[in-house]
């Protein structure tokens, strides 16, 4: 009886000569975040060729989409890029709202923008923390995880969950801000500035950090576009492309922010672009708090019975509202037939939802254009011809999130 375990992948190559060695890195490896396998051909310590295998976290999201109502997919969508779940929520809800031709209320728009930026801060902090920890900078990891935990608890006050919030609703949001939330937000942002300053101090001009990150994993802007890179990966290579500025959605057109751009597209640039983006997000959040105060009063849900629940008093009082509520829960919102592709600027880049509806209760087809998956397609260009040890910082700087990559 053959007791060997089956190999789930077929490598693209074997050793090409007697002097080279093929090693397997992953998938259960801390540097590859547990879900990516890199089969590398090495000549000594130098990486000659790389064959990247993802899919170890393929959870059948797109097949699940065809079996649930539009509403019930919101928790699934959360778990795509789980580090910044709110961005996924809002991108998905925006997709369905475009299909239904719903325009969200101003308060909802400002709140979604604010929470998207807040989530982006948490995501970038997680990426930088993990990347630094893999290099050995444990202190920076602990600092960032401490402040990230405050963000999680704060979002748990609002949404009920620390990590996978399921807070977006089609046509609005689940609930409004609790009292005192915005004051606590300002305190956390002030703490963010302090902790980020400490991380900058530990790492930015650290000789070891610079030696490991500068000129490692370099990719130029034209090549990055060729491989479909978007988000901080593309901006670090020098191309100032950001969907929030180029094709503004939500409330980004009303905000004043810069798009940080790197110089040569190496690991150091990617780290620094993310740190600067956290600063820009903090700046945006402060503007949004003021905007919420000035122009963002009112309901958070659009008053459209196709997707928003009627108020509870009416549900218990009149039969039409009861039926409306029942239909929305059991059958889900009725989305007219059509197809749409909506792209938001997620923490990793362009997160796109291509939704095909045939008028039913759930999507006929929902495809996620995942930035992490596309980045994995081109990562071999950043790993080849560098050292084996450079694989760790390069992979860490790409911020491959398994849930988003493999869906």
């Amino acid at each position: 009886m053959d007791t060997r375990l089956p190999n789930p992948v077929r490598p693209a190559f074997g050793a090409s000569s007697d002097d080279t060695v093929v090693v397997n890195i992953g998938p259960s490896h801390p540097a590859t975040h547990g879900t990516v396998q890199i089969i590398a051909e090495l000549s000594g310590e130098k990486v000659l060729r790389v064959d990247v295998h993802c899919g170890y976290l393929h959870r059948g999201f797109e097949k699940e989409c065809e079996a649930h109502t539009w509403h019930n997919l919101i928790p699934y969508v959360d778990r795509l890029n789980y580090c910044s779940a709110l961005i996924n929520d809002f991108a998905y809800c925006d997709t369905v709202e475009r299909l239904m031709a719903i325009e969200i209320t101003p308060r909802c728009r400002y709140l979604r923008t604010l929470l998207a930026e807040y989530s982006r801060i948490a995501d970038h902090m997680t990426c930088v923390a993990a990347a630094l920890m893999e290099l050995g900078a444990m202190t920076a990891f602990l600092y960032l995880v401490t402040i990230r935990d405050q963000i999680y608890e704060h979002l748990a006050d609002l949404t009920g969950a620390r990590l996978t919030y399921s807070y977006g609703r089609i046509g609005g949001l689940a609930r409004d801000l609790p009292p005192g939330w915005l004051e606590r937000l300002e305190k956390i942002l002030a703490d963010c500035d302090v902790f980020l300053g400490r991380v900058h101090g530990l790492v930015d001009r650290n000789r070891i950090f610079i030696d490991r990150m500068r000129n490692v994993g370099t990719i130029g802007a034209a090549e990055a576009i060729h491989w479909g890179y978007t988000g901080p990966m593309l901006r670090a290579s020098g191309a100032p492309r950001d969907l929030r500025k180029d094709v503004p959605y939500l409330a980004y057109a009303e905000l004043e922010f810069e798009v940080p751009v790197g110089i040569i597209g190496d690991n150091y640039d990617r780290y620094y672009v993310r740190m600067r983006e956290i600063d820009e997000s903090i700046h945006m959040i402060r503007q949004l708090v003021d905007l919420l105060e000035d122009k963002g009063q009112g309901p958070i849900e659009v008053d459209d019975r196709r997707c928003s629940f009627p108020p509870k008093e009416r549900v218990y009082g009149e039969i039409e509202s009861l039926i409306n509520h029942f239909k929305l829960v059991i059958d889900g919102p009725r989305v007219p037939a059509g197809e749409v592709y909506v792209a938001h600027e997620a923490a990793n880049g362009e997160l796109g939802f291509y939704a095909v509806s045939t008028g039913g209760a759930g999507p006929y087809r929902l495809h996620v254009r995942s930035p992490s998956f596309v980045h994995m397609g081109g990562i071999h260009r950043m790993l080849e011809n560098y050292q084996l040890a450079d694989l760790v910082p390069t992979f860490g700087s790409v911020n491959m999130i398994g849930g988003e990559c493999d869906r």
Binding site: H33, T35, L57
Partner: protein, 176 residues
């Protein structure tokens, strides 16, 4: 799979046939001592895949801190670890890898299923996901949650520690 590593405690009211009460008393005290040592020096192998990883990072950092319970230092080699924490969804593609890692771990070893995906497949009931890690390997503690709060994870670790404290720990022979 081999369940002989968990040996039931001898029935109350007397020593097992062929053994003296003194032997049983010494064996029990030895088990308590070894159990105490083992439960406070767990070396987890964090088999991390999905969203639960974020809560694993949170429970390892402050303010939750698994280091208080001796379970902080992860060992990324299965040869050096004794607690396999399956953190996140296990897909069919990942299953041979998980099994290989578990088989490479030496006795004594325990498995903690972290999160509802590792416990029962979570809400991914489809062609790609293993409906619970206990279809592949024996699990000692299940910590459900999507993801579980860090306090729940610590509760899980404490229950595992109680379990370890109450187990038999044969160190010299198969029975002692």
């Amino acid at each position: 799979m081999d369940d002989s590593r968990v040996i039931p405690i001898a029935p109350a009211g007397g020593a097992a046939p062929g053994r003296s009460a003194a032997f049983e008393y010494i064996a029990t005290r030895k088990d308590e001592l070894i159990g105490w040592a083992r439960k406070f020096s767990l070396f987890p192998y964090p088999f991390v895949t999905a969203c639960c990883a974020m809560e694993f990072m949170a429970v390892s950092g402050s303010p939750y801190d698994t280091d208080r319970f001796g379970a902080a230092l992860p060992r990324f080699s299965p040869r050096q670890a004794d607690l396999l924490m399956v953190v996140g969804t296990i897909t069919h593609k990942q299953a041979p890898v998980l099994l290989k890692v578990w088989e490479q771990m030496c006795e004594p070893k325990w498995v903690l299923a972290f999160g509802v995906c590792a416990t029962s497949g979570g809400f991914y009931n489809n062609y790609a996901t293993v409906q619970g890690v206990d279809r592949l390997l024996p699990v000692d503690v299940y910590v459900p949650g999507c993801p579980p709060r860090p306090e729940m994870v610590i509760d899980g670790i404490l229950r595992l520690q109680e379990k370890i404290a109450g187990q038999k720990h044969p160190i010299l022979t198969r029975d002692f």
